[in-house]
Amino acid sequence: MKPILECRGLTKKYGSTFALYNLNIALERGQIIGLLGPNGSGKTTLIKLANGLLRPSGGQILINGSEPGVETKKIVSYLPDRNYLGKHMRVDEIMAYYNTFYDNFSLERASGMLDALSIDPRARLSSLSKGTLEKVQLILVMSREADLYILDEPIGGVDPAARDYILHTILTNYNENATVLISTHLISDIENVLDHVIFLKSGQLVLNASVDEIRTQHRKSVDALFREVFKC
Protein backbone atom coordinates (compact mmCIF):
# COMPACT_ATOMS: atom_id res chain seq x y z
CA MET A 1 0.00 0.00 0.00
CA LYS A 2 1.26 3.48 -0.85
CA PRO A 3 2.07 5.79 2.06
CA ILE A 4 -0.78 8.16 2.83
CA LEU A 5 1.57 11.12 2.53
CA GLU A 6 4.99 11.15 0.97
CA CYS A 7 7.48 13.95 0.32
CA ARG A 8 10.28 13.44 -2.17
CA GLY A 9 12.90 16.16 -2.15
CA LEU A 10 10.12 18.62 -1.40
CA THR A 11 11.26 22.24 -1.57
CA LYS A 12 9.31 25.48 -1.26
CA LYS A 13 10.79 28.91 -1.77
CA TYR A 14 9.20 32.25 -0.97
CA GLY A 15 11.20 34.74 -2.98
CA SER A 16 14.77 33.84 -2.15
CA THR A 17 14.16 32.19 1.24
CA PHE A 18 13.58 28.48 1.63
CA ALA A 19 10.51 27.59 3.70
CA LEU A 20 11.17 23.89 3.10
CA TYR A 21 14.33 22.36 1.75
CA ASN A 22 14.69 18.86 0.31
CA LEU A 23 12.23 17.18 2.65
CA ASN A 24 11.90 13.39 2.42
CA ILE A 25 9.31 11.69 4.60
CA ALA A 26 6.60 9.06 4.31
CA LEU A 27 3.68 8.80 6.72
CA GLU A 28 2.15 5.44 7.55
CA ARG A 29 -1.53 4.73 7.86
CA GLY A 30 -3.33 4.31 11.15
CA GLN A 31 -1.10 6.63 13.13
CA ILE A 32 -1.33 9.90 14.97
CA ILE A 33 1.69 11.92 14.00
CA GLY A 34 2.96 15.12 15.54
CA LEU A 35 4.48 17.69 13.21
CA LEU A 36 6.62 19.64 15.60
CA GLY A 37 8.83 22.65 15.27
CA PRO A 38 9.10 26.25 16.43
CA ASN A 39 7.30 29.04 14.60
CA GLY A 40 8.64 29.52 11.09
CA SER A 41 10.06 26.00 10.80
CA GLY A 42 7.91 25.17 7.78
CA LYS A 43 5.04 23.24 9.41
CA THR A 44 2.24 25.28 7.86
CA THR A 45 4.03 25.40 4.51
CA LEU A 46 4.19 21.59 4.44
CA ILE A 47 0.51 21.37 5.37
CA LYS A 48 -0.55 23.86 2.71
CA LEU A 49 1.48 22.00 0.10
CA ALA A 50 -0.30 18.78 1.09
CA ASN A 51 -3.65 20.50 0.58
CA GLY A 52 -2.76 22.03 -2.75
CA LEU A 53 -2.95 25.59 -1.42
CA LEU A 54 0.70 26.06 -2.41
CA ARG A 55 2.66 24.61 -5.31
CA PRO A 56 6.10 23.09 -4.64
CA SER A 57 9.15 24.94 -5.94
CA GLY A 58 10.89 21.59 -6.30
CA GLY A 59 10.39 17.91 -5.56
CA GLN A 60 7.05 16.22 -5.05
CA ILE A 61 4.37 15.77 -2.45
CA LEU A 62 2.09 12.79 -2.88
CA ILE A 63 -1.13 11.93 -1.07
CA ASN A 64 -2.00 8.27 -1.45
CA GLY A 65 0.36 8.23 -4.43
CA SER A 66 -1.07 11.24 -6.30
CA GLU A 67 -0.24 14.92 -6.38
CA PRO A 68 -2.78 17.12 -4.56
CA GLY A 69 -5.90 17.45 -6.70
CA VAL A 70 -9.58 16.65 -6.78
CA GLU A 71 -9.08 13.00 -5.81
CA THR A 72 -6.78 13.71 -2.86
CA LYS A 73 -9.05 16.46 -1.57
CA LYS A 74 -11.82 13.88 -1.22
CA ILE A 75 -9.78 11.88 1.29
CA VAL A 76 -8.02 14.67 3.19
CA SER A 77 -9.81 16.56 5.94
CA TYR A 78 -8.01 19.79 6.76
CA LEU A 79 -8.22 22.19 9.68
CA PRO A 80 -6.40 25.43 8.79
CA ASP A 81 -4.63 27.46 11.46
CA ARG A 82 -6.93 30.41 10.88
CA ASN A 83 -10.61 31.21 10.65
CA TYR A 84 -11.51 30.00 7.19
CA LEU A 85 -15.31 30.08 7.31
CA GLY A 86 -17.36 32.85 5.77
CA LYS A 87 -18.58 34.91 8.70
CA HIS A 88 -21.93 35.59 7.07
CA MET A 89 -22.95 31.94 7.29
CA ARG A 90 -24.94 30.25 10.02
CA VAL A 91 -23.80 27.05 11.73
CA ASP A 92 -26.42 24.92 9.94
CA GLU A 93 -25.54 26.55 6.62
CA ILE A 94 -21.88 25.68 6.93
CA MET A 95 -22.85 22.11 7.84
CA ALA A 96 -25.04 21.93 4.74
CA TYR A 97 -22.08 23.27 2.78
CA TYR A 98 -19.80 20.48 4.03
CA ASN A 99 -22.57 17.96 3.47
CA THR A 100 -23.00 19.12 -0.13
CA PHE A 101 -19.36 18.99 -1.09
CA TYR A 102 -17.94 16.08 0.88
CA ASP A 103 -19.44 12.65 0.32
CA ASN A 104 -17.76 11.39 3.47
CA PHE A 105 -19.24 14.05 5.75
CA SER A 106 -21.64 12.79 8.41
CA LEU A 107 -24.29 15.38 9.17
CA GLU A 108 -25.54 13.21 11.99
CA ARG A 109 -22.19 13.03 13.71
CA ALA A 110 -21.64 16.77 13.39
CA SER A 111 -25.11 17.61 14.73
CA GLY A 112 -24.57 15.23 17.63
CA MET A 113 -21.34 16.93 18.62
CA LEU A 114 -22.85 20.42 18.28
CA ASP A 115 -25.80 19.38 20.42
CA ALA A 116 -23.47 18.01 23.08
CA LEU A 117 -21.87 21.46 23.28
CA SER A 118 -25.32 23.10 23.09
CA ILE A 119 -24.31 25.25 20.13
CA ASP A 120 -27.35 26.73 18.41
CA PRO A 121 -27.38 25.61 14.75
CA ARG A 122 -29.14 28.84 13.80
CA ALA A 123 -26.38 31.00 15.27
CA ARG A 124 -24.30 33.08 12.88
CA LEU A 125 -20.62 32.22 12.83
CA SER A 126 -19.81 35.87 13.43
CA SER A 127 -21.71 35.74 16.74
CA LEU A 128 -19.68 32.84 18.17
CA SER A 129 -16.80 33.32 20.57
CA LYS A 130 -13.32 32.49 19.29
CA GLY A 131 -13.17 29.29 21.33
CA THR A 132 -16.60 28.10 20.17
CA LEU A 133 -15.77 28.87 16.56
CA GLU A 134 -12.60 26.77 16.85
CA LYS A 135 -14.65 23.89 18.23
CA VAL A 136 -17.18 24.20 15.40
CA GLN A 137 -14.33 24.09 12.89
CA LEU A 138 -12.85 20.99 14.52
CA ILE A 139 -16.27 19.30 14.60
CA LEU A 140 -16.72 19.93 10.87
CA VAL A 141 -13.30 18.51 10.09
CA MET A 142 -13.62 15.46 12.34
CA SER A 143 -17.13 14.66 11.07
CA ARG A 144 -15.62 13.55 7.79
CA GLU A 145 -14.65 9.92 7.31
CA ALA A 146 -11.26 10.79 5.84
CA ASP A 147 -8.05 8.83 5.25
CA LEU A 148 -5.86 11.71 6.33
CA TYR A 149 -6.72 14.40 8.83
CA ILE A 150 -4.40 17.38 8.79
CA LEU A 151 -4.85 19.63 11.79
CA ASP A 152 -2.80 22.81 11.84
CA GLU A 153 -2.32 24.05 15.42
CA PRO A 154 -5.64 22.69 16.74
CA ILE A 155 -4.69 23.42 20.35
CA GLY A 156 -2.88 26.73 19.93
CA GLY A 157 -4.29 29.37 22.23
CA VAL A 158 -7.11 27.42 23.88
CA ASP A 159 -7.68 26.84 27.59
CA PRO A 160 -6.89 23.43 29.16
CA ALA A 161 -10.55 22.33 29.22
CA ALA A 162 -10.96 23.13 25.53
CA ARG A 163 -7.70 21.34 24.82
CA ASP A 164 -8.99 18.18 26.53
CA TYR A 165 -12.19 18.47 24.53
CA ILE A 166 -10.25 18.81 21.29
CA LEU A 167 -7.99 15.83 21.97
CA HIS A 168 -10.98 13.76 23.02
CA THR A 169 -12.83 14.71 19.84
CA ILE A 170 -9.85 13.72 17.71
CA LEU A 171 -9.43 10.38 19.49
CA THR A 172 -13.13 9.54 19.30
CA ASN A 173 -13.64 10.36 15.65
CA TYR A 174 -10.72 9.20 13.58
CA ASN A 175 -10.99 5.66 12.32
CA GLU A 176 -8.23 3.18 12.92
CA ASN A 177 -6.94 3.10 9.37
CA ALA A 178 -6.78 6.86 9.09
CA THR A 179 -3.73 8.95 9.77
CA VAL A 180 -3.90 12.14 11.81
CA LEU A 181 -1.18 14.75 11.30
CA ILE A 182 -1.20 17.37 14.05
CA SER A 183 1.09 20.36 13.90
CA THR A 184 1.88 22.16 17.13
CA HIS A 185 4.58 23.73 19.20
CA LEU A 186 2.84 22.74 22.47
CA ILE A 187 4.19 19.22 22.66
CA SER A 188 3.69 18.23 26.27
CA ASP A 189 -0.06 18.69 25.83
CA ILE A 190 -0.41 16.10 23.11
CA GLU A 191 2.62 13.89 23.61
CA ASN A 192 0.59 11.00 25.04
CA VAL A 193 -1.65 10.71 22.02
CA LEU A 194 1.13 10.62 19.43
CA ASP A 195 2.58 7.49 17.81
CA HIS A 196 5.22 9.27 15.91
CA VAL A 197 6.85 12.67 15.71
CA ILE A 198 8.49 14.69 12.97
CA PHE A 199 10.73 17.58 14.00
CA LEU A 200 11.21 20.39 11.51
CA LYS A 201 13.82 23.09 11.90
CA SER A 202 14.29 25.90 9.37
CA GLY A 203 12.51 23.88 6.73
CA GLN A 204 14.56 20.74 7.20
CA LEU A 205 13.89 17.40 8.87
CA VAL A 206 15.80 16.91 12.13
CA LEU A 207 14.01 13.91 13.59
CA ASN A 208 11.51 11.34 12.41
CA ALA A 209 10.89 8.73 15.12
CA SER A 210 8.25 6.99 17.17
CA VAL A 211 7.48 8.34 20.63
CA ASP A 212 8.43 5.01 22.22
CA GLU A 213 11.76 5.00 20.39
CA ILE A 214 12.52 8.46 21.69
CA ARG A 215 11.60 7.54 25.25
CA THR A 216 13.58 4.29 25.16
CA GLN A 217 16.66 5.71 23.45
CA HIS A 218 16.91 9.14 25.03
CA ARG A 219 15.20 8.27 28.33
CA LYS A 220 13.28 11.52 28.18
CA SER A 221 9.99 12.85 26.95
CA VAL A 222 9.54 14.16 23.43
CA ASP A 223 8.93 17.55 25.01
CA ALA A 224 12.29 17.49 26.80
CA LEU A 225 14.04 16.33 23.64
CA PHE A 226 12.33 19.10 21.67
CA ARG A 227 13.56 21.72 24.12
CA GLU A 228 17.07 20.33 23.76
CA VAL A 229 17.03 20.25 19.96
CA PHE A 230 15.58 23.73 19.62
CA LYS A 231 17.45 25.38 22.46
CA CYS A 232 17.94 29.07 21.72
Binding site: Q31, I32, T172, E176, E191, D212, R215, S221
Partner: protein
Protein backbone atom coordinates in the same frame (compact mmCIF):
# COMPACT_ATOMS: atom_id res chain seq x y z
CA UNK B 1 -9.69 11.67 33.86
CA UNK B 2 -6.41 11.14 31.97
CA UNK B 3 -4.05 8.66 33.61
CA UNK B 4 -0.95 10.10 35.19
CA UNK B 5 2.07 9.13 33.18
CA UNK B 6 5.77 9.77 33.62
CA UNK B 7 7.70 11.55 30.97
CA UNK B 8 10.81 9.49 30.72
CA UNK B 9 9.61 5.95 30.04
CA UNK B 10 7.74 4.44 27.12
CA UNK B 11 4.03 5.05 27.50
CA UNK B 12 2.94 1.49 26.75
CA UNK B 13 5.03 0.20 29.69
CA UNK B 14 3.28 2.60 31.99
CA UNK B 15 -0.12 1.61 30.65
CA UNK B 16 0.74 -2.07 31.28
CA UNK B 17 1.75 -1.29 34.84
CA UNK B 18 -1.41 0.66 35.43
CA UNK B 19 -3.63 -2.16 34.18
CA UNK B 20 -1.66 -4.73 36.19
CA UNK B 21 -2.16 -2.55 39.21
CA UNK B 22 -5.88 -2.33 38.53
CA UNK B 23 -6.07 -6.11 38.31
CA UNK B 24 -4.24 -6.63 41.60
CA UNK B 25 -6.11 -3.93 43.45
CA UNK B 26 -9.39 -5.49 42.35
CA UNK B 27 -10.71 -2.92 39.88
CA UNK B 28 -10.86 -5.86 37.47
CA UNK B 29 -11.70 -9.32 38.83
CA UNK B 30 -10.32 -12.57 37.37
CA UNK B 31 -12.38 -13.47 34.29
CA UNK B 32 -13.76 -9.93 33.90
CA UNK B 33 -14.17 -8.46 30.45
CA UNK B 34 -12.03 -5.38 30.00
CA UNK B 35 -13.18 -2.33 28.04
CA UNK B 36 -12.30 -1.99 24.36
CA UNK B 37 -8.96 -0.56 23.28
CA UNK B 38 -10.62 2.61 22.11
CA UNK B 39 -12.54 3.16 25.37
CA UNK B 40 -9.46 2.47 27.44
CA UNK B 41 -7.43 4.82 25.25
CA UNK B 42 -10.04 7.55 25.58
CA UNK B 43 -10.16 7.06 29.32
CA UNK B 44 -6.40 7.31 29.60
CA UNK B 45 -6.23 10.07 26.95
CA UNK B 46 -3.58 8.19 25.02
CA UNK B 47 -3.18 6.96 21.49
CA UNK B 48 -5.25 3.80 20.76
CA UNK B 49 -2.23 2.19 19.09
CA UNK B 50 -0.24 2.59 22.29
CA UNK B 51 -3.05 1.06 24.32
CA UNK B 52 -3.23 -1.76 21.82
CA UNK B 53 0.48 -2.39 22.28
CA UNK B 54 0.13 -2.44 26.07
CA UNK B 55 -2.73 -4.94 25.89
CA UNK B 56 -0.85 -7.13 23.40
CA UNK B 57 2.09 -7.23 25.81
CA UNK B 58 -0.24 -8.18 28.67
CA UNK B 59 -1.65 -10.88 26.42
CA UNK B 60 1.84 -12.18 25.79
CA UNK B 61 2.37 -12.38 29.53
CA UNK B 62 -0.85 -14.34 29.78
CA UNK B 63 -2.56 -11.85 32.12
CA UNK B 64 -5.14 -11.06 29.52
CA UNK B 65 -6.60 -13.28 26.84
CA UNK B 66 -8.75 -12.37 23.89
CA UNK B 67 -11.71 -14.16 22.42
CA UNK B 68 -12.07 -13.48 18.76
CA UNK B 69 -15.55 -12.00 18.81
CA UNK B 70 -16.32 -11.02 22.35
CA UNK B 71 -13.27 -9.02 23.38
CA UNK B 72 -10.53 -9.22 25.96
CA UNK B 73 -10.77 -10.81 29.40
CA UNK B 74 -8.66 -10.92 32.54
CA UNK B 75 -7.18 -14.35 33.05
CA UNK B 76 -8.84 -16.53 35.67
CA UNK B 77 -5.58 -18.44 36.22
CA UNK B 78 -5.25 -17.70 39.98
CA UNK B 79 -1.74 -19.09 40.02
CA UNK B 80 -0.59 -16.63 37.39
CA UNK B 81 -2.25 -13.72 39.19
CA UNK B 82 -0.58 -14.72 42.44
CA UNK B 83 2.79 -14.93 40.69
CA UNK B 84 2.33 -11.49 39.23
CA UNK B 85 1.42 -10.12 42.63
CA UNK B 86 4.55 -11.68 44.08
CA UNK B 87 6.64 -10.35 41.26
CA UNK B 88 5.38 -6.83 41.78
CA UNK B 89 5.90 -7.07 45.52
CA UNK B 90 9.47 -8.25 44.99
CA UNK B 91 10.04 -5.37 42.62
CA UNK B 92 8.80 -2.84 45.19
CA UNK B 93 11.00 -4.35 47.90
CA UNK B 94 14.02 -4.31 45.63
CA UNK B 95 13.46 -0.66 44.83
CA UNK B 96 13.03 0.13 48.50
CA UNK B 97 16.32 -1.47 49.43
CA UNK B 98 18.04 0.32 46.62
CA UNK B 99 16.83 3.64 47.93
CA UNK B 100 17.92 2.75 51.43
CA UNK B 101 21.37 1.91 50.03
CA UNK B 102 21.50 5.34 48.49
CA UNK B 103 20.77 6.80 51.92
CA UNK B 104 23.67 4.80 53.32
CA UNK B 105 21.89 2.01 55.21
CA UNK B 106 23.01 -1.58 54.95
CA UNK B 107 20.46 -4.35 54.41
CA UNK B 108 20.69 -5.42 58.07
CA UNK B 109 20.18 -1.88 59.33
CA UNK B 110 17.21 -1.49 57.03
CA UNK B 111 15.67 -4.72 58.25
CA UNK B 112 16.11 -3.62 61.86
CA UNK B 113 14.50 -0.27 61.13
CA UNK B 114 11.55 -1.98 59.49
CA UNK B 115 10.99 -4.18 62.52
CA UNK B 116 11.27 -1.21 64.87
CA UNK B 117 8.80 0.79 62.81
CA UNK B 118 6.33 -2.07 62.85
CA UNK B 119 6.71 -2.53 66.58
CA UNK B 120 6.16 1.15 67.23
CA UNK B 121 3.05 1.24 65.06
CA UNK B 122 1.57 -1.72 66.93
CA UNK B 123 1.83 0.02 70.27
Amino acid sequence: MPWELDNDRPIYLQLMERIQHDIISGVYKPGDKIPSVRDLALDAAVNPNTMQKALSELERNGLVYSQRTSGRFITDDEELLKNMKMQLATEHIRQFFEQMHQLGFSDDETLQMIQETLRREKQ
